[in-house]
Symmetry: C2
Subunit: 121 residues, 2 copies
């Protein structure tokens, strides 16, 4: 798949809140995922698809998604970028919140090898 | 200015290859600029508007821009993202090349305080 095709499929799956399906379909075994921040003592970086799956599972298990809006993609060579606008509830605290973030992705040989998220904390 | 207004103005100025005007109009004195990579021994990071001006001046002095296409912006909270598609000539070597990159920006109090670029090298 081209960068454009990977980007379009990611947007389609994430718009339907199918985040785990996106990882299985589009991510490289060696993907690196970088968050905007991390709790003290923890890393912003997750290395490898198992670490990314674990991060995603924690997120899905702990959040109820009321709506997931994905804008983009904008494609530039091997990279693309999208924005996410999520309305969700953090289930352990029954706390509803909205978040908006930019995601940047790098594609090599039809798979996502790097992702990084930008948001204010 | 809101994030959307800063983003729209950046797109307008950069589409006209007015990169230096964009810095003067939109950048914080304390801006940090991060490139995708740097030559050995040099930093990816430029700190402060004078360092960003110097980087921009080197770029403008050494490149002839044949076309500058900016797509976006996509806005998410205090961040926005665009893509750049440049067709230019590196004047010292009279070498024409095309580059495509993603830019991510953070806006605080109506000024750009952080920018980061993603492209393959």
């Amino acid at each position: 798949m081209t960068t454009q095709e990977v980007a379009d499929k990611l947007v389609k799956l994430c718009s339907a809140a199918k985040f785990d399906e996106a990882v299985e379909a589009l991510y490289s075994p060696d993907v690196v995922s970088m968050e905007a921040g991390a709790p003290p003592g923890q890393s912003r970086e997750s290395k490898g698809i198992d670490a990314v799956r674990a991060k995603g599972k924690w997120w899905v298990d702990n959040h109820e998604v009321h709506s997931s809006k994905v804008e983009g993609p904008l494609v530039a060579g091997s990279h693309f970028t999208v924005t996410f606008k999520l309305d969700c509830t953090f289930k352990p605290q029954n706390r509803r919140f909205q978040m908006e973030e930019v995601g940047v992705y790098k594609v090599v040989d039809g798979k996502i090898v790097y992702e990084e998220f930008f948001y204010s904390m």
